[in-house]
Symmetry: C2
Subunit: 311 residues, 2 copies
DNA sequence: GCGTCATCTTGAATGTTCTTCAAGTCTGGC
DNA sequence: GCCAGACTTGAAGAACATTCAAGATGACGC
């Protein structure tokens, strides 16, 4: 027995409840001819005559009535479930970024946006992988990398700097050590492998080994906060911690890296109600952030060997 | 928002419950590639990532899990409803014919078939319209007409005769009238308009008007039984009543007409389990019936003007 | 009985979607 | 590092869906 197409069943219910193929076809955005073919097809699949056709529309046969009663409640439940599921709140703007950027840059600034625009509804998501805008209900992402990326809009927001940071407790323990001779300090492995770049920039000898290796920036940062060692931190994430006194920068230098932060979104997001507001706000905040980072003592550094892109 | 295809939802549930696209594709009788495309499509339609793909199969994301839970019960209900509905009992042979033939010819003989073949399961349907074998779950029909009909097998069973019949009560009331002078009797209109043929065959003058007109043979027969008038009856239907004494033939003559009875069935019915048995039996019964009708006094008559075909 | 109208049907042509094929990617286990 | 299993991807071909145009049907009004 042939598998009955559920889409055909759906059309049958529509026709049955409308009682008129012409009107049902309109509702389905088809010609009456297409619907007529469909009804014939389902009758063939079921080997049953479901409608009596007449010049005043169609009437269900007894069997058609039975089928309608059997399937309509389930179909309704199914449609309702799908409707709930796929009904993204069009008014909520869905923003995605990695958790470090979320907590270190976006969240501290968001109260300003919410205060200025109470009508905005935001949906915030942390993710460690690049957003697939085709498959995921994300409207916009703050993405770290070298950009631009194909198929999406990529608007540069601000650069990134790295510097060695450590917890006050560690500094206390290493009281007599020279903060410019990092080779003698307990260093935490860098997920992005930038210690060599740092030593090339600042001079000195890299250590033969690190205290531990980490696969995410979050884990690295937590280890640094615990005083496990010196981390080569990204400023966008570390800066609030530094300003809070939870971490200290060793020395006075910051190394700019080729990666930057971008506002990334697919074409479809242009039409989103909150997109214009959010985008303008992010660019303004990024400009402020760039200005506040402008007093950093910097030199041009050689590009890092391995590019990394994260949302 | 695009309408979600229910057939895609069904495939999603299959893949989700199988937890492996390759095996699910086998179950769906597709290549894994087709299923992969489908899963991608539904993810796009819903703008959601439903699966995490891995080398050991697929795992539902949280959203995929939510969707599964939301739709699975309804889908199951729908599939069950459809399954019940479309599940013809393959072992039951569905036979259709008009009610007069059903009661006058088939039913009186069926006990013989059932006794000889207790394993047979029959589904009997009366219908006044020609069976549409494409749309209706009928395996075989006894059809009246001139045959053959396109798209189906048409096997001739036996001829048909007509004769004027009346109830004993009417005969009693018309005790002094000549049964060969029907023009003087109260005649019931014939649905097939054959009174003119009869008078051309038997002589005499048709009446200016009939007692009443009827749109079906059943109604005509009932009126005759009530003694309303003389009906021009078809023997296949009237004969049991005549043999029961409920109706009498006026005179000694029977007029053969061009229409006959056929066994009609679509190609697909050849494979039906009970078809061979039923078909052989019907042909044997038809042969017996033809033999029993062979002693009827008959002449060749002009063909009737309007052909009629009924199952 | 005839004409009109609304509705549905039908077959063929055209457009769209689905499936397969072939090549590729990814990951875990050895 | 290699291999196998599982899934992905784009293009080609197959299958299906829809439209178009002509036709059929039945109810209604004249």
């Amino acid at each position: 027995m042939t598998r009955i197409s559920l889409d055909l069943v759906r059309q049958f219910v529509l026709a049955a409840q409308t009682g008129n193929l012409s009107r049902a076809a309109e509702r389905a955005h088809l010609t009456v001819s297409a619907l007529s073919h469909q009804m014939r097809q389902i009758e063939q699949q079921l080997s049953r005559k479901l409608f009596d056709r007449g010049p005043r529309g169609v009437r269900l046969t007894a069997e058609g009535q039975r089928l309608l009663e059997a399937v309509a409640p389930h179909l309704e439940g199914l449609e309702r479930a799908l409707s709930h599921y796929s009904c993204r709140r069009e008014e909520a703007l869905t923003i995605s970024t990695i958790s470090g950027v979320m907590s270190g840059w976006l969240m501290p600034r968001l109260p300003g946006l919410v205060a200025a625009h109470p009508e905005l509804e935001l949906n915030l998501q942390s993710s460690s992988a690049l957003v697939d805008f085709e498959r995921e209900p994300v409207d916009v992402a703050l993405r770290y990398g070298r950009g631009p990326w194909p198929g999406v809009e990529s608007e540069r927001l601000f650069e990134e700097w790295i510097a060695p940071v450590a917890a006050p407790a560690l500094l206390e323990r290493m009281r007599g050590a020279d903060p410019n001779q990092l080779g003698a300090w307990p260093l935490l492995g860098d997920p992005s492998k930038r210690w060599l770049d740092w030593f090339a920039y600042a001079g000195g000898t890299p250590p033969a080994r690190y205290v531990a290796q980490f696969d995410t920036t979050d884990a690295l940062q937590r280890a640094a906060l615990e005083g496990m060692g010196v981390a080569l931190a990204r400023m966008v994430m570390a800066r609030p911690l530094i300003e809070a006194g939870l971490l200290r920068v060793l020395g006075e230098r910051y190394l700019p890296i080729p990666e930057a932060y971008f506002l990334v979104y697919p074409q479809r997001s242009r039409e989103h109600a909150g997109m214009r507001v959010f985008r303008a706000w992010v660019h303004a905040e990024a400009a402020d952030y760039r200005a506040s980072m402008a007093h950093m003592p910097t030199h041009s550094a050689a590009p890092a060997a391995v590019p990394e892109a994260c949302d």
